[in-house]
């Protein structure tokens, strides 16, 4: 394990790096699935955009030393911002940027909740979407709430991530019946009903990767 001090049982910089690697993996694997979601109610590029972004992030990460979770997330933020484009680029870019600022050197459950809330705050600041507008906010919102609940119940950081991932997945699924009110899908009006929002889905996949990276021993125990 390199860089950043860590306490056993906590989420430190190694986890953050593992998360990025898992993210790149999952974006590559879900590239076409995300394209298909976006074809249905958008312009069919979301999977391509995210894959391009995380491929670049991974390359950057491999040639960069990072001391803290914040370093890793800042690198993600900057790279997504300059490689993804579209709506997702600035939104995810801002999310990771705010998250990087909120992240301590290791994350307990409250730390996870803080990071997720910061990310959510960044997305809302840029995109002005509310819950149930059928956007990625519908995944980040429930995820950060679920993490906060674990923290309040005294759970661990890993548990917080797992709960967040589950909530994001449920949130993404729950976008299906919604009518889009933000982003490209809003042009479709009622015709957006019955389709899952691609950004909410990519969020769910990324948080699943976060939990997985912790469970796979990416967590610094």
């Amino acid at each position: 394990m390199e860089g950043g001090a860590s306490t056993p049982g906590s989420l430190g910089v190694a986890w953050a790096r593992a998360w990025v690697e898992a993210s790149a993996d999952v974006m590559r694997q879900n590239r076409m699935a995300l394209i298909d979601l976006d074809r249905a109610i958008g312009d069919g590029d979301h999977g391509e955009n995210m894959d391009r972004g995380f491929t670049a992030v991974l390359a950057k990460l491999q040639s960069t030393e990072t001391e803290t979770i914040g370093d890793v997330l800042a690198l993600v933020a900057k790279t997504l911002m300059s490689t993804v484009g579209g709506a997702a680029g600035p939104l995810y870019g801002t999310a990771y940027l705010r998250a990087s600022k909120a992240a301590g050197s290791t994350l307990d459950a409250a730390g996870v909740a803080d990071v997720l809330e910061a990310a959510l705050g960044g997305i809302v600041a840029r995109g002005k979407a509310e819950r149930e507008d059928k956007t990625m906010v519908d995944a980040w919102g429930p995820a950060s709430e679920a993490a906060r609940e674990i923290a309040e119940a005294g759970g661990s950081g890993v548990e917080a991530l797992q709960a967040a991932a589950q909530a994001a997945q449920a949130g993404a699924a729950a976008t299906e019946p919604l009518t889009a009110r933000k982003g490209r899908a809003s042009y479709l009006g009622a015709r957006s009903v019955g389709h899952r929002d691609p950004g909410a889905q990519s969020t769910a996949l990324l948080l699943e990767a976060a939990a997985g990276a912790a469970g796979d021993g990416g967590g610094d125990e």
């Binding site: 074809r39 590029d45 955009n49 993804v84 484009g85 579209g86 680029g89 042009y187």
Partner: protein, 335 residues
């Protein structure tokens, strides 16, 4: 999917390379794949307001085809149907600045707006004054709390042409921005698709249309429209588009207009003229007069078959700016 391409990932870079080679008298490329933009050969003109636009690729000739005398100073092509990131926009903005500031002409899509917004902030850090005008001429989308607002579609060409003429005659940034805004306020568009298009990296059509269906109110990204209706005659379809456009613009007797019938990329010119014929007749029925016309591929969606109808209401100044010389790869007169 059959396309005249090599690597789907290389489409934009290779196409821009061909474009600047073919039009070396007009444009140069930044050459930097990470910060790709096309700008006027000869560089920024000292004292002239710079005009920068951009957005996802796949809409050619928009925007690079409109770089040149009397129109844009730089164009930033993103990946196909994907807004460019802030970095190349910043680079283009700096390159286009002749000291009088730069106008960003941004089509109203969440991605374009956010990326240009960030780029404008970053460019200000490099001491370039930036003003942005958002183009949102597509009446197929209701501008309400329940949408991301109207999209910018073919009307963008008219904003770029007229604002470009204002910049070329020496207007200052505020004035050029005000004129661009005035064009945007007086222009409306709506489109139809007979077939979908296929984004190279997706490899599949953006939507599926039956042999007897068409999409009304499509945007320019292969996104489905608001409504799917049975195939109809050109006159019926045109009436539908024109009526929506003219009603929204409140075209009245005596109005002087530009009529732009725009092909989506895969439509024969003959069909565009059939649409033009009917659109013009309907405008004349309202007592308006079509003073200038454009018929052709200006703002496309790859190989999509379909068309859009754009109407701009003119005043004396807008007309004289429209008529001012322009010399770009895709629009040329008076120069």
């Amino acid at each position: 999917m059959k396309k005249l391409i090599n690597d789907p990932q290389a489409v934009v870079a290779e196409s821009v390379e061909g474009f600047v080679a073919a039009h070396a008298d007009l444009v140069v490329s930044s050459g930097d794949e990470e910060k790709l933009f096309v700008s006027r050969a000869g560089g920024a003109m000292s004292g002239k307001v710079g005009l920068v636009s951009g957005g996802g690729s796949g809409h050619e000739p928009l925007h690079a085809g409109f770089v040149g005398l009397g129109m844009l100073d730089a164009a930033v092509p993103g990946a196909v149907f994907t807004s460019p990131t802030p970095d190349p926009i910043v680079a283009a903005t700096v390159a286009a600045d002749g000291g009088a500031g730069v106008l960003h002409i941004v089509k109203n899509y969440t991605g374009d707006v956010l990326n240009f917004e960030t780029a404008a902030e970053l460019a200000e850090l490099e001491d370039v004054t930036v003003t942005s005008v958002i183009v949102d001429d597509d009446v197929a989308v209701q501008d309400s709390l329940y949408t991301a607002g109207r999209r910018g579609v073919a009307g963008t060409v008219l904003v770029e042409k007229i604002a470009g003429a204002a910049a070329e005659r020496g207007d200052d940034l505020e004035t050029v921005a005000a004129i661009a805004t005035r064009v945007n306020e007086n222009v409306r568009s709506m489109g139809v698709a007979l077939t979908a298009c296929t984004v190279p990296h997706a490899g599949k059509p953006s939507f599926d249309l039956a042999e007897d269906e068409i999409e009304i109110g499509i945007g320019i990204h292969g996104e489905p429209g608001r409504e799917r209706i049975p195939a109809a005659s050109a006159d019926e379809i045109t009436e539908r588009l024109l009526t929506a456009v003219a009603d929204d613009l409140q075209v009245a007797s005596g109005d002087r207009l530009v009529l732009l019938v725009n092909g989506m990329g895969g439509t024969p010119a003959s069909e565009l003229y059939i649409v033009y014929r009917q659109a013009r007749a309907l405008l004349e029925q309202r007592g308006a007069s079509v003073e200038r016309s454009l018929v052709g591929n200006y703002v496309t969606s790859l190989e999509m078959q379909g068309a859009s109808v754009t109407v701009l209401r003119l005043d004396d100044e807008l007309l004289s700016l429209y008529d001012a010389p322009v010399h770009t790869a895709a629009l040329r007169w008076g120069a």
